[in-house]
Symmetry: C2
Subunit: 333 residues, 2 copies
């Protein structure tokens, strides 16, 4: 078993260690590379969002409500609650005729510390559209309205919205509906438990799919990477500099999934202990090793991402005390 | 090798896993129980504070400046920046004739979310005494003034204050000065890298020491557990209900050290990935297993700590989605 670690250092010494499991597969499902346990069952969390958004496009709800690339990007987002994110969400709700109070996602401190601090300073109430998942939820409401389903309980297992999404997730991951674990996500919607390898397969397929809905969601995420995450975050910066080379989506508890369409590959990784600080350097190390293996076949611009490759850690006076750094290699099969 | 895990669950499924290394020793240094790697080298971080405070008492600085049990408790604290913590620190600075600006610790968002939010709401500037380590730093300044050492750079390796503390740490841990790693802590002061087993030995000795300074620091921590951490935190609640049965001190990056004086034992644990949420349930599980082993020999009250034994995790609507729970056992030798 090959291992990939993220080491946290202090004054040049390793202080803490994070183990990472990785699966890299091609669109046929063949395992191309791995680390740790590529069959590890995990919650997909927000890295499932493109697949949770597919029914919105495939079933015609997006067209009906006039959702363009901005709305589709936000439906796939774990956003930072910046003004633009809240505005696009408000527009989606308005187009579908839903009050904000219909959103089942609860508010939480924004992922952007600057936005969170500003809201506290101003005493601004955090309403549901401030949730990092509000675009996904607005999309789910649109799907319910489009089909004439009741909106009450749209976020819960068994509701037609979630049944429709379950079909879609089963289709792309190759995992039978009955074998997909359905759990409750931080935003109250259903989240899915499945092997890393199956998540990677879904991304491999999604990255090269000729299905119109998949193409539209991919292009929406690439057109508006700032809507998929937010200022300074890896999903946003990687897709902004990568110019269509990589499609990447983070999830809570150390999850990251990505597609490299030019290589026909998908990948998914899980930081075993769930540390969210470690999934960005882990993703970039996996991409670096995969791209090195296929040197010459594809070029993915990744300049300017050094602060995500080895994030620095500082003390309370701002001095650098250490960093997070990837150690170890993928095993190519 | 025995293993102790903290599992993070979601809807009844294990989502993330944290490995914990543990050393339990008696005052002679004999290993009584362990999990993972009890010889693991780690940063002691704030769990070293009682030993960093010993010179303050032993050298007469505490008496000279009129530090009572409150000041000694705060010197051992990683406090939550509550008003009482800031007040006691201000009093220590006043007694030693130091301006607050002499504190080398930088400010940071208070460990108490309520205090942090209130400061932001009110626009209160976070000055150095808001640092969770401000009591330790005020004690270091007092030590420098008492000895007539310059206060500039008191926090850095090589300064007489840190040399004096290094002697003390070497004495209690049984690790030679030259073998103790000196690194930079989050508060800018020196922190020490050494094996878990040596940290545990220091606590075993400290818990039963007849040295007046050790007794005074122990009794100060037990007399004012609310000053050692803060509202709702495990160090505070455990020492408040434990009535002298356990002396416990948390450190950053998943460290916890404790003494059970009635059994003559000390222990230290490290959550391998540094997750701060996991060290409280890990400590309570280690204590539970140790006390069960010595059933009848000692009774340590631990009622009302269930929320630390299995901390619940909630989604953004406040519904419980899972918990952190300890799995696995110590190996008794």
């Amino acid at each position: 078993m090959s291992s990939l670690l993220i080491e946290s250092t202090r004054s040049g010494h390793v202080e803490s260690v994070h183990h990472v499991s990785v699966a890299v597969v091609d669109a046929s499902g063949a395992l191309v590379a791995s680390a740790g346990d590529p069959e590890r069952q995990s919650m997909w969390r927000s890295a499932a969002k493109p697949f949770q958004s597919l029914p919105l496009v495939r079933d015609g709800a997006a067209d009906r409500y006039g959702f363009g690339t901005r709305e589709l990007a936000l439906s796939c987002a774990s956003h930072s609650s910046e003004p633009v994110h809240r505005e696009v969400c408000a527009g989606m709700l308005k187009a579908t005729g839903c009050e904000e109070s219909r959103l089942a996602c609860g508010p939480h401190p924004p992922l952007s510390q600057a936005v969170a601090d500003e809201a506290l300073r101003q005493g601004t109430p955090l309403t549901p559209r401030w949730s990092n998942c509000s675009g996904k939820h607005a999309g789910m409401l649109a799907l319910a309205k489009h089909h004439g389903w009741h909106t009450e309980g749209y976020e819960r297992a068994g509701h037609p919205v979630q049944e429709r999404i379950l079909d879609e997730v089963a289709h792309w991951t190759g995992v039978e509906r009955g074998a997909l674990v359905q759990a409750v996500d931080g935003c109250t919607a259903v989240c899915f438990g499945l092997p890393l390898r199956a998540m990677a397969l879904a991304y491999a397929r999604f990255g090269v799919s000729e299905l119109d809905a998949a193409r539209r969601l991919r292009e929406a995420m690439w057109a508006h990477p700032e809507l998929v995450a937010g200022t300074g975050r890896l999903c946003t910066e990687l897709m902004a500099v990568g110019r269509g080379g990589v499609l990447a989506k983070v999830g809570a508890e150390g999850i990251y999934s990505a597609a490299v369409p030019a290589l026909g590959l998908g990948l998914s990784l899980k930081v075993e202990d769930g540390d969210a600080r470690c999934s960005p350097p882990a993703l970039l190390e996996v991409l670096r090793q995969v791209l090195a293996r296929y040197e010459g076949r594809v070029s993915v611009p990744m300049e300017g991402l050094g602060h995500h490759v080895e994030p620095l850690q500082r003390n309370t006076r701002g001095a650098v005390t250490g960093s997070l750094r990837a150690v170890g290699g993928l095993r190519f099969t």
